[in-house]
Each structure stands twice: as C-alpha cells, then as structure tokens.
C-alpha cells in the first residue's frame, strides 16, 4: 500500500533551474553510440584478427596476432544459421554484456538516462507508486551481479594473453607495436574497472566486520576501495577504449594502415 503524505499545492516535476537534463542526456548519447558501434562490429564478423585476414606485413612475419577485444577469446566454431555465418563475437557477448548491464555504476547511469527513475535528483521521473526497484522480476536479477564478475575476471586473463600474443612474431622473435600498446592499455583499463567492482570489494574484505582480525583482507580491501572510488571513471574510460581498440584492430586488419612496430627483440 502506498502512503501518500499531504502535498504542497505547488507540486510540479521539479523546481530546479539548472540544466539538470544535460548529464543524463550525455550518458544516453555516449552509451547509445557504443551500443550501435558494438552491435555493428559484432555482426560485421570481419576484420577482427590478423591471422584470419592476412596482410602483406603479417605474411612477411612482421606483426604478431592482433585480436579485437570484442572477439576475444576467439571461439573457432563456424556455425551457419539460415546461410548466415554466426559471428564468434556473439558467442562470448553475454559475458561482458551481462557484467556491464548489472554493474552498480551502469545501473545508476541507465536507470537515470533510459528509465528516468529518476532522470536527475529532485526531478520527478517516470512511474508512480507501483515502483518495486530491484525487489521483483526483472530487476531482481541485478542481484546476481557477482556471478558475472567471475567471468569478467577470467576475461582479464584472456585479454592479458592477447597482449602477449601480439608481441610474439610469426617470423620468430618478439616485438612491440602500436597495437601492443593499444591492447595493453585496454587490459589495464578493463582490469581497473573489473577489480574496482563492488562485488569484488565485497569478496575482498567488505564481507568481514573485523578488519583487525583479517589484516591481509584489510590491505586488499583498501586497494580495491581505491579502484572502487574511481569506478565510474574506469567504467567509461574502459568502454571508450575497448571501442577504440577494436577500431584500431579493424583499421589494421582491413589493411588501411600498418601496425607500426617500435622495436623487436
């Protein structure tokens, strides 16, 4: 039963006079742009990896394997549905997607920007007293965020291996290229995002009451807390950089530019 207090006669959506709508609008635009780009790339099913789309440079043994993070880990299955080759990116999409969708920070962002519940503080949003928050289906599923974290942590390891593979040259030896650095920054930003997760913070000490009895956990908790306090920053920077990393890999593997090699050893 909803309890309705006595209200003022001057009740309107908001009395705020500042541009409160800018922030949710910017979030909606950037997020939508990412979704459009990632969807296009997922279904493009092309230009994501050097070994499949051999460039002249690659054949000459001058580049390592560059793999787009949207396609990593690359599952070597070639399924055809109604004549359409299923993109390997679709097979792994569920992991990063569910992780970001249930992330506490992104929840705030899209509840505000897409669901308008509320769009900004002290601004009346959509829906009335029928609101149930995260108590009922479907939003009760948000409480399973920790399970998506387990997979996200495994993905960090996989993406770190991708950085190493980009340095292993087919002609023999090792080398560091622009692509290596792009992949490296990608895994650093994603790692900072993943290990600053609230569920991770809970596992790494948040769940205990007495830190003096769990000194090791306390140290870990403080480190995770450092990342957690910057979670929004890493959420956005990793999202943007994943897209730019993919764009770079696409540009190289489509043959538009060569992956500049800094040095070899």
């Amino acid at each position: 039963m909803a309890v309705t207090p006595q209200r003022r006669s001057q009740d309107k959506r908001t009395f705020r006079t500042d541009a409160w709508w800018i922030q949710p609008a910017v979030v909606a635009v950037v997020f939508t742009a990412f979704v459009v780009y990632a969807t296009f790339r997922t279904f493009e099913n092309n230009y994501y990896s050097a070994p499949i789309h051999l460039s002249d440079l690659y054949q000459a043994g001058q580049v390592g394997d560059l793999l787009s993070p949207l396609y990593s880990p690359l599952i070597p299955i070639d399924w055809k549905i109604w004549g359409y080759h299923v993109s390997p990116a679709i097979l792994i999409l569920v992991f990063p997607l569910s992780f970001r969708l249930t992330c506490y920070y992104y929840r705030k962002a899209y509840y505000r920007s897409y669901f308008l519940t509320p769009p900004a503080c002290a601004v009346r949003g959509l829906g009335g007293s029928a609101y149930t928050g995260e108590r009922k289906f479907p939003f009760i599923l948000q409480n399973l965020h920790r399970f998506t974290w387990y997979f996200a942590a495994i993905f960090i390891v996989i993406l770190a291996i991708d950085v190493i593979r980009s340095m292993m040259y087919h002609g023999g030896g090792w080398g560091v290229s622009v692509g290596t650095l792009v992949l490296l920054l990608n895994v650093i930003l994603l790692g900072a995002y993943t290990f600053g997760c609230h569920s991770c913070r809970h596992f790494c000490g948040g769940c205990v009451n007495s830190f003096s009895k769990h000194k090791g956990l306390y140290g870990l908790w403080r480190k995770v807390t450092y990342l957690n306090e910057r979670h929004q920053l890493f959420a956005w920077s990793s999202l943007v950089w994943v897209s730019l990393t993919d764009l770079y890999v696409r540009t190289v593997t489509s043959g538009a530019i060569a992956d500049h090699v800094f040095f070899r050893f």
């Binding site: 039963m1 909803a2 309890v3 309705t4 207090p5 006595q6 209200r7 003022r8 006669s9 001057q10 009740d11 908001t14 009395f15 705020r16 006079t17 500042d18 506490y104 929840r107 705030k108 509840y111 505000r112 519940t117 509320p118 503080c121 002290a122 009346r124 949003g125 829906g127 009335g128 007293s129 609101y131 149930t132 928050g133 995260e134 108590r135 939003f139 009760i140 409480n143 399973l144 965020h145 920790r146 609230h198 569920s199 913070r201 809970h202 948040g206 769940c207 009451n209 007495s210 830190f211 003096s212 009895k213 000194k215 306390y218 957690n228 306090e229």
Partner: protein
C-alpha cells in the same frame, strides 16, 4: 557591496499554500538562513523555520533552495543566480507543519525498529577494545547529522511515497553502522532485505549527492548491504558451502 536579492518563500501548511515574495539586502558571506532570519526580523515575524546551530551540524534547517535539497545555513546567497528570485520551500517528502517546517517524526519512528548493537559476549565484564582499522569504515556513518536531506531526495520516498517498502538512505546508513560493527553479533540480513527494503533502492545516488556530511551513502552503506543480502539470498554457491559446513 550591499545588493538586494528577491526570495520566493513558501508560506502555508499541510492544506496548501503559496509562494510569497520578499526582498532582502545581502551582505558578504550571507547564507539563505540569514535571509530567512532577516525576513522574520524585519518583514514578517510569522514566517516559520527550524534551525539551531547555523554551522551545518544540527541538521535542522533542511529545505529546498531553487529545487535543490540543502541546508539553509550552508547555502550561500552569492553562490546562487540572483537575476531570478531564489525559491525556498520546505522538504517535499515530509508533511508540512508550517511554512518551512516539516514533520520528520516518521524517521524517528522507524529508527526504533532497528535492533541496537548486540554484543557477542553480552554480560562479559571485559573492556571493549576497538582497533583503528575496525573503526575506519563505520566512523564515516557516525558523521550523520540527521538532516534527512537524503530521505527527502530519495525518489522512492519523495515521488513514489513508498515509505511502506523502504526505510530510506539515512536508515541504511544507521543499519550499515550496526551491521558492519566489529562487535555486532546480530543476523540482520532478513531484516535489511524484507523490512528495511534495501532492494527497493535503485542506486541512483541522489542521497549521496545531497548529503552535507559527504557520506558516500550508496557506495559505502547501501551497496555493501545489498552484497551482504546477496550472500544469503542470491548466491547458491555460498548457500551450498554453508550447508556443507554445517
């Protein structure tokens, strides 16, 4: 330099009311509460407001200034755009008693339903010792001045009037201070989930935005409580481990 600022102040009670216009001379460093006091002193002694410390520490003077929930004694006039009138009204979530004064007693009523600290070894005469690392986390929650601005801005209480499903951010801070207390031995999670209703919060962080004590309500109180609730209700792996351990 003395200037004049126009204020539109809500006058009325729970049956309704209106905004009345007042012009007030400004002085350097003046806050909204000063302007209200000046109106009371020089123009209209019947204007009601609640205040106590004028130092942002008692939590009495909560109001909405140009639509923003805030303390009147902490909001400087010079920080507001003065081309337009400054709109001052009572907090929206609670019933108006008169003008800027609201009845916030609901907060005290529900606070009574939160179980106090339960020590593991009740009856022991040993002195209680706390280590600094144990204090760090819960100390933040002790900064609360009970201004109830977070309760005011929370859309669940403010716009959806669902005090029946959610205790509100201030009470989440209180519960977190108890639940994370190193000496507390209570199992609070069923209460946190069902009665206090932590799952109703959609972590949109407005409470954190308005808290004058800069308590990170959502990140440090509500989300950790949600995670503790998840341990018990949404984690079959942990449930299995608990069963095996038993």
């Amino acid at each position: 330099m003395t200037q004049t600022v126009t204020l539109h102040v809500f006058r009325g009670d729970s049956n309704g009311g209106e905004f009345r216009e007042y012009k007030v001379k400004t002085a350097p460093g003046m806050v909204v509460l000063d302007a209200i006091h000046q109106i009371q002193k020089e123009q209209d002694g019947t204007l009601a407001c609640r205040w106590n410390c004028k130092a942002a520490k008692c939590g009495s003077c909560s109001a909405e200034i140009n639509g923003h929930p805030g303390l009147m004694c902490k909001t400087r006039i010079e920080a507001l755009p003065t081309e337009k009138p400054v709109v001052v009204q009572p907090v929206k979530t609670f019933p108006i008693i008169k003008d800027l004064v609201t009845d916030v007693s609901w907060n005290y009523e529900i606070a009574k339903t939160i179980a106090p600290l339960k020590l593991k070894d009740e009856g022991s005469t040993e002195p209680l010792r706390m280590q600094q690392e144990d204090v760090d986390r819960v100390q933040e929650f002790r900064k609360c001045i009970e201004c109830f601005l977070c309760q005011d801005v929370c859309h669940i209480l403010r716009d959806r009037h669902r005090k029946d499903i959610f205790y509100g951010p201030r009470q989440m801070v209180r519960i977190a201070a108890l639940a994370m207390h190193p000496l507390d031995a209570s199992e609070r999670r069923p209460f946190i989930k069902d009665q206090a209703g932590v799952l109703a919060c959609n972590i949109t962080k407005c409470c954190t935005e308005v808290c004058p004590e800069h308590i990170k309500i959502t990140d440090n109180a509500i989300i950790p409580l949600k995670e503790r609730v998840a341990d018990l209700y949404f984690d079959p792996i942990r449930a299995l481990i608990r069963k095996v351990k038993r």
